[in-house]
């Protein structure tokens, strides 16, 4: 498979700049007409978040909120939001990236300080909602911890590396999915699928056991709950390269949910698109695997059980597989980690379990 770079990143940057300017022009116009500047955006309250079966993720409803500087309670967050827009434009113009933590500290230089990190994060989410773009589009990233390994050649678009290409097998520990990789173009790959893995230990084991070669796969380490940049990256691998995505997590409600968020997204990101991969599959560890493979297991805690009951009410879990596994978990009241397969030898999971599970979902 060989693809020509489309320079999506450059287009995104242009789009972000365009929308930021539009926001500025709008506010400026309001003030010139001596009206108190205000903005309108979709409400992110829980009453306005709905699951859409069509797009197979959470979306925002029609309810809008208005933030006006005439309102004493709105003026501060509105100012912070406009500052955040200004800050994002600076980043885009200078082609720099930054983190949520940077945003928190940078605000202090402009005397629009945030009370704490959550307040600053929430303003960035507001900006995403207003702009209809994710913060990664205007170069604000969280701390990265996930990685990728496999035969995929990318071309960088970040300043100083434009046009430079790299094969993601170059480093045996995998490559960090950071800002540079997120904005890179896909050039070519020989892979037939993507395997996303929750834990670092297993990710390393898969590389050592050359799973990427045996199955022609790109290996993605989510390192727990997948960061948004990683979810977007998986989305792109699925969309742009037409690769099926298989997810392996721990056999417990939390691992199950890690898979679900990659597939259907989270309510927190209802205002965003391109973070989900609805066709991805969760391949294990299932509750039924614990029984079928007689895995060493721990008893479910009360918190685990409460979580399972919550998930059962969740619209995203309506599929047969999900219902069956939740039921099974509640029945056996056990959970197992991915590493539990080591009981049968270190390579058992690669030689026996993986092929069996991949077959099941094909």
């Amino acid at each position: 498979m060989n693809k020509k770079p489309k320079n999506l990143a450059a287009e995104k940057r242009k789009e972000a700049l365009k929308r930021l300017k539009k926001l500025g022009v709008r506010l400026y116009g309001q003030m010139e007409k001596s009206t108190f500047p205000w903005i309108k955006m979709p409400s992110r309250s829980t009453q306005n978040i709905f699951y859409s079966p069509e797009v197979r993720q959470y979306v925002l409803g029609d309810k809008m909120v208005r933030r006006s500087s005439r309102n004493i309670r709105h003026i501060r967050p509105l100012t912070q939001l406009i500052w955040a827009a200004y800050f994002a434009r600076d980043l885009a113009q200078q082609r720099k990236t930054s983190t949520l933590r940077d945003v928190y500290y940078s605000a202090q230089a402009y005397e629009v300080p945030f009370k704490d990190q959550p307040e600053s994060n929430s303003i960035i989410t507001d900006l995403e909602t207003v702009m209809g773009l994710s913060r990664e589009d205007f170069k604000v990233f969280p701390e990265e911890r996930s990685a990728i390994f496999g035969d995929l050649t990318i071309e960088y678009t970040v300043p100083g590396y434009e046009g430079k290409r790299l094969n993601l097998m170059s480093h045996p520990d995998g490559m960090m999915i950071g800002p540079a990789l997120t904005s890179a173009e896909f050039v070519k790959t020989s892979a037939d699928m993507v395997i996303a893995i929750e834990k670092g230990g297993l990710f390393t084991r898969f590389i050592e056991e050359t799973v990427h070669k045996k199955y022609n796969a790109l290996l993605v380490l989510t390192a727990g709950q997948a960061p948004r940049a990683t979810r977007h990256f998986i989305h792109r691998l699925n969309r742009e390269l037409d690769l099926p995505v298989h997810i392996f997590t721990d056999g417990d409600p939390w691992g199950m949910h890690i898979a679900m968020v990659i597939i259907s997204g989270s309510a927190n990101a209802a205002h965003l698109r391109e973070l989900t991969t609805p066709d991805a599959t969760w391949n294990g560890v299932w509750a039924t695997d614990i029984v079928d493979y007689d895995l060493p297991s721990d008893a479910l805690t009360e918190v685990d059980i409460k979580r399972l009951h919550d998930l059962r009410k969740d619209q995203r879990y309506e599929g047969d597989l999900w219902r069956r596994e939740i039921k099974k978990f509640l029945e056996i009241k056990k959970k197992a980690e991915q590493e539990a397969f080591s009981r049968y030898g270190l390579t058992y999971i690669v030689d026996e379990y993986l092929p069996a599970k991949l077959e099941m979902t094909d």
């Binding site: 500025g24 501060r76 406009i82 200004y86």
Partner: protein, 503 residues
């Protein structure tokens, strides 16, 4: 063994029981001495109708390394002065004085000043020096000691001088053992509070270190002096009636009731005597002991007496109270209230209250309380005082008062008989009538404080509101200008103007 019985003189009695008059220890002794002499000085000026000039000096005497510190206490005033013939008795005889009449004065028994001198004599064995003139052509100087056993003055020296300037006033100087430095905080607090409640007085104090404290008057207006009155029927006892029957020249009870008691008209006298079952024509001198007892009991029971007259009282008045507080506490807000005269057990009284906020009042974590009775600051036993109990019983949140606010409350009780709990005049007993008046007085000023605090809060909120707009609008303008790629920021003056509600 044979018991010996002997009579002791009043001087001897107080010598043996000096605790009850506030001379418990060297610290209290010097405080009480200062207080008694300053009060006498102020009383003398009040009665004379001249704004007081009081000079107080305490100096330390070298007593050659003997135990105990000896201080020389000197007080000068510009009051009415004491007629020469009364000077020896006024300062050398306990329970001699001009204050036995029914009118409001700071002192009541003529005890305090002499008690201080007595205390000085027994601790140092030195005479008291007195100089006084009533503004005649002579001033008189005395050196006196007290014959404790016989309650008589001993005149050691007596001089008369020509009084060219027609000076009037009194100078008293004597020595006593004491502990000034321990008493200092109370003495200074006493003088300061005296200044609050006597804003028409100049008070000068020179302490043993030579430090000068000045409390200047802010007005020469003085409260009208109280009138002397007859007792009210509710407030008399058997002894009083017996004394009155001895001195009266009335021939029948009808006249007797009208002449020797206040607020008894002919109609009321008729009604009362009928009710009491005592003949209207009866000669008061011929009342039998059991009739006197019945008279007193019936007097207390009879419902139709008018309440006692308050003209014998001399409240400070709103303006003077305000002036005194403004002068010493410099508050941001002040409310004063003078209650209508009231009475307990036949004794008229008036309560004056004030509440002050901010200024020099400390944020004590609690309300600062200044208590006064007949213009005397009360400094000891605060917790037992009715005023403090009343203040504690009030839910201050109703008045928007929180504990961290700088708030002072002043309560002034004037009465011909202040219901003190002790001879030391430290705190006021919890009489229901007095308590009610104090409570209502404090409530009234507290309501006004609430209005002030509400308004202050409102102004504060408005100020904060404005500062929010003027902080953030320019920033919105700045960032929007940048985002829009414009050169000039938009004009937001109009917007800022529109959020200003008050100007």
């Amino acid at each position: 063994m044979v018991e010996t019985f002997e009579q002791i003189s009043p001087a001897d009695f107080f010598y043996r029981n000096r605790d009850i008059a506030g001379f418990t220890n060297p610290t209290r002794a010097i405080f009480s001495s200062v207080r008694e002499l300053v009060e006498n000085a102020l009383d003398a000026s009040d009665l004379h109708g001249v704004p007081p000039e009081v000079y107080l000096r305490i100096s330390q005497e070298d007593n050659g390394g003997e135990e105990g510190e000896v201080y020389i206490l000197r007080v000068e005033d510009n009051g009415s002065g004491i007629p020469a013939r009364h000077i020896p008795s006024a300062f050398g005889q306990v329970l001699f004085g001009s204050k036995y009449k029914l009118r409001q004065a700071r002192g009541t028994f003529g005890l305090g000043g002499t008690m201080a001198i007595l205390y000085g004599q027994i601790t140092t064995h030195k005479p008291v020096y007195v100089a006084s003139s009533t503004g005649t052509s002579r001033t008189y100087e005395y050196k006196l000691m007290i014959d404790i056993q016989r309650n008589r003055p001993i005149i050691l020296d007596r001089k008369a001088h020509v009084n060219k300037t027609r000076w009037h006033g009194t100078v008293v100087e004597f020595r006593l053992e004491g502990d000034y430095f321990r008493a200092m905080p109370k003495i200074l607090e006493y003088l300061k509070q005296t200044a609050v409640v006597t804003p028409y007085a100049n008070i000068t104090f020179v302490d043993p270190k030579g430090r000068l404290y000045r409390f200047n008057r802010v007005t020469t207006d003085m409260p009208p002096p109280p009138e002397e009155t007859f007792p009210h029927p509710y407030g008399v006892d058997v002894e009083t009636i017996q004394r009155l029957t001895k001195i009266t020249d009335c021939r029948n009870m009808l006249d007797f009731m009208q002449k020797h008691f206040q607020r008894v008209s002919e109609r009321i006298a008729h009604g009362f005597l009928e009710n009491a079952g005592i003949g209207k024509k009866k000669n008061p001198k011929k009342l039998k002991p059991q009739e006197v007892v019945r008279l007193v009991r019936k007097m207390k029971e009879f419902k139709d007496f008018l309440p006692p007259r308050a003209r014998c009282l001399s409240p400070l008045g709103k303006d003077l109270l305000k002036a005194g507080i403004l002068k010493e506490l410099k508050p941001d807000f002040i409310a004063v209230c003078r209650r209508k005269p009231s009475a307990y057990s036949g004794h008229p009284f008036i309560v004056e209250t004030a509440i002050a906020y901010g200024g020099d009042i400390p944020k004590a974590g609690d309300i600062v309380v200044h208590r006064f009775a007949n213009r005397i600051p009360l400094l000891y036993d605060e917790a037992s005082d009715v005023t403090v109990r009343v203040i504690k019983s009030i839910n201050w949140r109703t008045y928007k008062v929180s504990p961290d606010m700088p708030i002072a409350i002043l309560v002034h009780l004037c009465s011909t008989k202040v219901p003190y709990k002790t001879v030391g005049k430290e705190f006021i007993a919890d009489r229901p009538e007095v308590r009610r008046e104090i409570l209502n007085g404090i409530r009234e000023v507290a309501r006004r404080l609430r209005r002030f605090l509400t308004r202050k809060e409102h102004v504060e909120r408005e100020r904060r509101r404005l500062s929010v707009f003027s902080k953030y609008l320019p920033k919105i303008a700045e960032f929007s200008t940048e985002l829009a790629g414009k050169k000039q920021p938009p004009d937001i003056e109009k917007l800022l103007k529109s959020v200003r509600r008050f100007e």
